[in-house]
Assembly symmetry: C2
């Protein structure tokens, strides 16, 4: 790995948090300079296309984390019930039990979406498909599996919105428990 790429990777987590806090339009290069400790010259050396490229790299980083820690376990776990357990644990960890928002969801709401449409779309599509697959391997019919998967993925997003607006992370953890119970019930009936 070249030093450039290595250096890029070092600041990606910081970039992610800045975009989370301020949104895409609300994030300035001045703040990125301040928070990363890198001057604009360095930033443009690593990200020649500027702020948009920084966001793209962050979105790719989020997607690959979920690929590895959520979608793959759902798709490949030998015991699909265990795959779903892994998903809920990973989701709880990733969103700091409700104290962190979903960058993909946030970018989806305003016209920021149009600049990153395919990345945002494929994130949720992959999640939906992976969870549907795990549910079907648990014995659910195709239609019901799709129904529950969409419900779960949407509910997680909604719970993050609600937890933020109420400044109460427990809204999120309560939702996760509800969803786990709902899946358990569906599988066992």
């Amino acid at each position: 790995m070249s030093r450039d790429i290595a250096q890029r990777h070092i600041i990606i987590p910081a970039l992610g948090e800045i975009f989370r806090e301020n949104g895409f339009a609300g994030t300035s290069l001045a703040e990125i300079t301040y928070r990363t400790g890198l001057g604009k010259g360095s930033l443009y050396h690593f990200f020649p296309k500027g702020k948009k490229e920084m966001a793209e790299v962050v979105l790719d980083d989020v997607a690959s984390w979920f690929e590895e820690n959520v979608f793959l376990p759902l798709l490949e776990c030998k015991n699909p019930k265990h795959g779903i357990q892994i998903m809920f644990k990973a989701v709880d960890d990733y969103f700091y039990s409700g104290e962190r928002i979903c960058l993909i969801g946030a970018f989806s709401l305003d016209d920021t979406r149009d600049q990153f449409a395919s990345k945002l779309n494929s994130y949720f599509t992959s999640w939906n498909e992976a969870l549907t697959s795990a549910l079907k391997r648990n014995g659910l019919a195709n239609k019901q599996a799709k129904d529950i998967a969409e419900d779960v993925v949407a509910s997680i997003q909604g719970a993050l919105v609600l937890a933020r607006s109420q400044d109460n992370p427990k809204v999120f953890t309560r939702a996760l428990k509800r969803l786990q119970r709902r899946i358990e019930t569906s599988i066992h009936e």
Copy 2:
């Protein structure tokens, strides 16, 4: 009503759509000038505190629409099952069956929240409490009513996020139907 206040009310819906499309940080006075047809002089005449005051007035407008069309029916409808029906119809109408986002939800996700915290918080709290009340009057126990209400309010937000990210409003209408069925089932068991 003074002419100032009347004139203010005329442009509030336009302001709302602009903030919905661009977010708070992404909305410029230049675009507001262009879309409303009012010069900056006029805008600052009606909203002396500028962009922030415009957003506050829009948020109040959203809140009062929901008070009248969603929360009050839930709280006061003689037949609480009918109140819930009214809620789902109003929600479907308000969000244009999934083609419109929730401004309150969008403002909640990034640091915009901190500027409007109490308005965002009370919107969701009121919704939650009104729906909980209707569910209890349908015979549900307090705990279960609170549980379902939080689930429904969060799921609606999440479905709006998902519908936008997938550019597919049907994700939203499917979610509304799921939630209606879920409530029906809870009440009748």
